[in-house]
Structures are given as C-alpha cells and as structure tokens.
C-alpha cells in the first residue's frame, strides 16, 4: 500500500462516516472548525480508521494531538510503516 493510497482511503472513510464533501478534505482542514466535527466524532473517527485499515489505534497517545486532516494522514502512514503495511 502506498502513502497515496492510504491518504485516499482515509479521506474516503471520513467522507463516508461523517458525510463530508470530498472537496472539503484538504490537508490543512481543521477537524473541529473546518470539518465541523467534535469530541464524539473523534471517537467514531478512530473506529472508522481501525475498520478501514484493520489496525488498533484507540490507545495511541498521538491521536490526542491530531488537529488537522494532515495529522491523521501522517499518523496512519506512520502506523502503517510500523506494521510493515507500506
């Protein structure tokens, strides 16, 4: 799986989970202000990503630092690298 494919899958799963317009999914989009998500959505975002990539991330400390979409991209790419998925 390439980094580009990972980003594409992340954006697709978030668009589906939160009914977002794909055009709004730019890397610098803030999750709360730009995409309109909140703390409850962050919980379900983790579940959606775990489901999309068959990984376990809910206990990762780094998730709490996520602010913009690009943070999610970097986090999942890093995790995929750790797991040898790249």
């Amino acid at each position: 799986m390439t980094e580009e494919e990972i980003i594409k899958r992340i954006d697709a799963s978030l668009a589906e989970e939160f009914e977002l317009d794909p055009a709004d999914l730019v890397p610098e989009a803030t999750l709360f202000d730009d995409l309109g998500l909140d703390s409850l959505d962050m919980v379900d975002m983790v579940i959606a990503l775990e489901h999309a990539f068959k990984i376990k991330i809910r206990d990762e400390e780094e998730i709490r630092k996520i602010r913009v979409l690009e943070d999610i991209h970097r986090f999942v790419i890093h995790k995929a690298g750790e797991l040898g998925m790249l």
Binding site: F18, E19, G36, L40, D41, V43, D44, I47
Partner: protein, 411 residues
C-alpha cells in the same frame, strides 16, 4: 392559583400511513389499514404474530447529520412531527430560543434498534470494539425530547414521560398543566415509538398479540369485535403544540381545540390486566377536571387495542359513565397500536376529524362482541358535528389516562 385556558395550535404526525396530519386523517376516513405482514417476524422461533404496522419510506437524511447522529428512528419521527406542528402553529427560532417553550415527548423505552446495533458485541462478547460514541444518546429514555430540542433549538423545559401506552396522553396532559399554571408559555407535547420485532414478541409471550390474521393483515386488530384476538404493534409519532388561549389570540394563530380536562391514575389491581373500576375513576376525574357532565361528551375515542380483557373493561367503564348513546370508536383497527405514540397520534387524528365534522369508525368491527355491547359503536364514518370528545389511554403498569378536547368554535 390562576389557571389559564390551554389550546392546541399545531399538530404533526408520522404514522403507519406516512408523514403528515392530512395523510393520517384521509387514511382513516378512507378506511385504510396500515397493517401488513412483516417478513422479519418469520425469523423468530415461536413467534405467532407475523403482522405489524411499521412506518415506512422515511429518509432520515433530511435531518442534517450533526443532529441525526444521536437519533434513532423514533427521534427522527419526533423531529419531523414537531417541525410539522411548529409550521402550523407559526413558531419560529425566536420562540424556540426564548426559554419559554418546552418539550414533553416520551417513548415506551429507548431505542431497541440502537441497543441491538450498538451493544450486541458488548453483551455477547464483552467487547467495546464496535461500540459507537453516539449509541447511548439513542437509547436514553429522554432521547426523543432531547434530540428534538437540539435539532430545533428549543431551550425550555424537557420532560420525557414514559408510561408505555399512556405516555403521550400524559405528556399532553402534563404539558397542558404547565401552560395552564404559567410555567411555560408554549409546550411541544407528544410521544414516539419505533418498531422492532421485540415489541410484537413482548405481547406474543403474554398471549396478547394477534395471531389469527397473518394471511389477512388488514383484518386485524379488531377492537370490540367478536373475533378480536389481540394487539398489532405499530410505530410513529404524534405531536401537538400547546399554548394559552391568550397567547394564541395575541399571536393571531388559529386554535384547533382546547385541552379542557385531563386525569391520570394508577390502577393498582394488576400490573397487566385492566380493571373497569379504575378506568371509570380516570374518566370521571377527567370530566371533573373539565367541569363537564357526561352528557356533554359527543364522542369517545377509546384506547381499545383488540385484546379480550382491555376492550371488555373499557366497554364496561364507558357504559357505566356514558350509557348507550354516546358514539365510541377506536383507531387501532386502522393503524395498530402505536404504543407511546398512540395517545398523541390519536389526539391529533381526533382533533383533525372533529374539525372536519367527522366521527371515525372502528375498522374491522363487524360483529360487536357480547362483552363489548351496551355502548354505541361507530362502524362507518359519521358526518356529525362534535364539540367535546374524550380520549382514553390505558397502559401496562396500570397507568390510566383520559383527556378531554373541546372544539373552540363550539365554546
């Protein structure tokens, strides 16, 4: 303490016939049945009743995800019915946000559909893996009331009465009392239910569900009929907007009816089986609250769900209070038993039909059962002016409720 007159200025409905008060009224007048065979019920071993009257064809996505994410179907119904009622009552965002407008909408239980979806892994495998953060907001007992408030921006009192089949007769009655005594200027009152096979199973296990008409769903339930064989479960939501008569006149909105009297009592003789005595007590208390004698009631909309004991007890109670001349019918034959929604949905239908000059019949009442005789059953639509109607609801737990609605131009 001053008691203000309370009136209905808006109504909304989601019923087995679809959305809208007009659809509900026209379906009743057209003699339609909302009951159908439900294939999903065939998958439960030992379940004898395979019929129900579930709401179909509603796209929840007409509610933005921001609000919909905490809604199960019953909250979707409640939101749509409230929006319809608010449009009729000409209420806008300013009314909602002022703190003088509250919501009293209840359900029998929280969402069973969501409990199953969100927590089956938790119950079966002790696992939180697939548990969604929003699951609880769909199963909490005040889910409908809270979701309606958040979706529509209503900031006043929140009440989520829960008394099974009496739920929304109570919310309307309690809401009317809040307005009457000046605690709220406007109350949105109603009840909602969402269909799940577990509801049918609950009645089936008590031998109270209709099992004999699986091949002819439209012929059941049969309130007061010789061949009645039990309840047919249904879902939906009914909502009314209540405000003081002064408020309605000040705002210049049409008054649909007055809530003239209300009573609710607990029948402690049995958790399930109703007693004629406590039904009579409840009806007489409602009449007393309205300051009316029985002869002033022009029509009785019965609870009558098509069970042996319930229909018999209610027939006897109505006969004791009103004798053999006052018209009586039940709407369960048309749309089944919408449970927590039944009080408000039937109140909505009764007010709409009263204002159209019609008395609805009991659908499927072909041969009045001997134990339901002695009162005047309505078996075809009667085009008759009515000015005061009584609506009954009697629930598991012995929770009886009766409400009296008066047409304002007959004041």
């Amino acid at each position: 303490m001053e008691r203000r007159r309370v009136v209905v200025t808006g109504m909304g409905a989601v019923s087995p016939f679809g959305t809208g008060v007009g659809t509900l009224a026209e379906s009743i007048l057209g003699g339609r049945s909302g009951v159908r065979r439900v294939p999903a019920l065939e998958h439960y071993e030992g379940l004898g009743s395979l019929v129900a009257a579930p709401v179909e064809g509603i796209d929840p996505k007409i509610i933005p995800r921001k609000h919909r994410r905490t809604m199960s179907p019953m909250s979707v119904y409640a939101t749509l019915a409230t929006e319809e009622a608010m449009r009729q009552a000409r209420l806008d965002k300013e009314h909602c946000a002022g703190g003088d407008m509250g919501v009293a909408i209840g359900s029998s239980v929280g969402s069973t559909i969501s409990t199953q979806q969100s927590y089956s892994d938790f119950f079966n495998f002790n696992s939180l893996e697939k548990m969604r953060s929003t699951g609880f907001f769909k199963i909490m007992n005040h889910s409908c009331a809270a979701n309606v408030c958040h979706a529509l921006g209503i900031t006043g009192r929140v009440l989520a009465a829960s008394s099974a089949c009496s739920t929304s007769c109570q919310t309307v009655g309690y809401g009317a009392e809040m307005v009457a005594f000046g605690r709220q200027e406007i109350m949105i009152c109603g009840g909602a239910e969402e269909y799940h096979p577990l509801i049918t199973a609950t009645f089936d296990i008590m031998n109270a569900s209709s099992r004999g008409f699986n091949q002819h769903p439209e012929r059941t339930p049969r309130p007061f009929d010789r061949d009645r064989d039990g309840v047919v479960c249904a879902d939906g939501c009914g909502v009314v907007v209540l405000e003081s008569l002064d408020s309605a006149r000040r705002r210049g909105v049409p008054v649909l009816a007055e809530v003239a009297g209300f009573a609710t009592v607990c029948d402690i003789t049995n958790m399930v089986n109703p007693s004629t005595d406590y039904m009579e007590i409840c009806i007489r208390k409602a009449l007393e609250d309205a300051g009316l004698t029985p002869d002033r009631i022009d029509y009785i909309n019965a609870h009558a769900t098509g069970t042996d004991q319930g229909d018999r007890a209610e027939s006897e109670a109505v006969g004791r209070v009103f004798g053999p001349r006052t018209p009586v019918s039940s709407l369960k034959g048309h749309m089944g038993h919408t449970m927590a929604a039944s009080g408000a949905l039937e109140i909505v239908a009764v007010i709409e039909l009263m204002n159209r000059g019609c008395i609805p019949p009991t659908l499927n009442l072909e041969n009045v059962a001997p134990d339901c005789a002695g009162i005047r059953h309505v078996t075809a639509v009667e085009f008759e002016e009515t000015s005061c109607v009584l609506k009954n609801n009697f629930a598991f737990g012995g929770v009886n409720s009766s409400i009296i609605l008066r047409r304002m131009d007959h004041d």
